[in-house]
Symmetry: C2
DNA sequence: TAGTTTGTTGTAAATTTTTGCAACAAGAAA
DNA sequence: TTTCTTGTTGCAAAAATTTACAACAAACTA
């Protein structure tokens, strides 16, 4: 848990948005809860602190903070969504379809791929976060075959 | 629309599953409706033909056919899910976030990336379909900056 | 073809996520 | 501090997705 609150608040106000207690609570929650935080986990967490804070607000704020690039949207198993802090250094995930484990992928391994798409297709891939699905070491070896 | 019905049916029965009219209708629908078919689009389509076919069945069958690798799950914008036929020839998409255009990516450009993940992380990426989001040539040049 | 097994479906309810709208309140200005 | 504008929130309802369970029916066997 360590985001520059002052800087984020300045950024929001500068863009004409407001800094509300709800937004701060939700941002803190994602920050504290870690790498792939589900909306429900955020709601459970903030609801203890602010019982009137509604689910609708959780969803809206998560979406909003993602648009502001303060959070990043993460695809976890079976098409579910989660969120995490959007650090200055993007990272990505290898998601195991069998055991749902997440493996972090450093941004560097995607740079060449991104450059290739840019030079070959003149297409600029948004790499704030990517998830790749497949099967991890353990599940592959225990799958028989 | 051209999937080998007989072969698929044989595959299902061999695995102990059943070939039902609902499954065939839903598979046909995805096939006809093309790339990135949403559950709702499937439901609208099959519901005209079989009014009693329920939404629950649509969701269940889409999930089931994906597990059987007959369909592929596709992530479309803002975390929504869609489906398409999982052909023997995987292909991928560059999805423009501005104009929604689709650019097809031949499977070959992903092979080296996939091999890298396998050798470096011992993780086997499922590449039946991948979507990358970003911005295409046209939208990048007209976006100013 | 009739009988049996058990995978599937439809219904309805539970969950999850989104949305309309009136009341509220953050931030700017006076 | 008070006032004003309008971005935000909470509520409740709508929409999307999942799940429990009894009835149904696909596929196998005789």
């Amino acid at each position: 848990m360590s985001h520059n609150t002052a800087e984020i608040n300045r950024q929001l106000r500068k863009s004409g948005y407001r800094v509300t207690p709800q937004r701060q609570l939700i941002l803190d929650a994602v920050c504290q809860l870690g790498d792939h935080v589900t909306p429900e986990a955020v709601y459970d967490h903030v609801h203890r602190i602010a019982p009137t804070l509604s689910r609708a607000t959780v969803y809206r704020v998560l979406h909003f903070l993602t648009e502001q690039q303060i959070l990043a949207m993460v695809h976890i198993a079976d098409g579910r969504l989660a969120y995490e802090m959007a650090g200055p250094e993007p990272h990505h995930h290898l998601v195991c379809r069998t055991c749902d484990s997440l493996l972090e992928l450093p941004h560097s391994v995607l740079l060449s791929f991104r450059l290739a798409m840019e030079s070959q297709y003149d297409f600029e891939i948004d790499v704030s976060h990517l998830s790749f699905f497949g099967h991890c070491t353990d599940c592959r070896s225990s799958a028989g075959a």
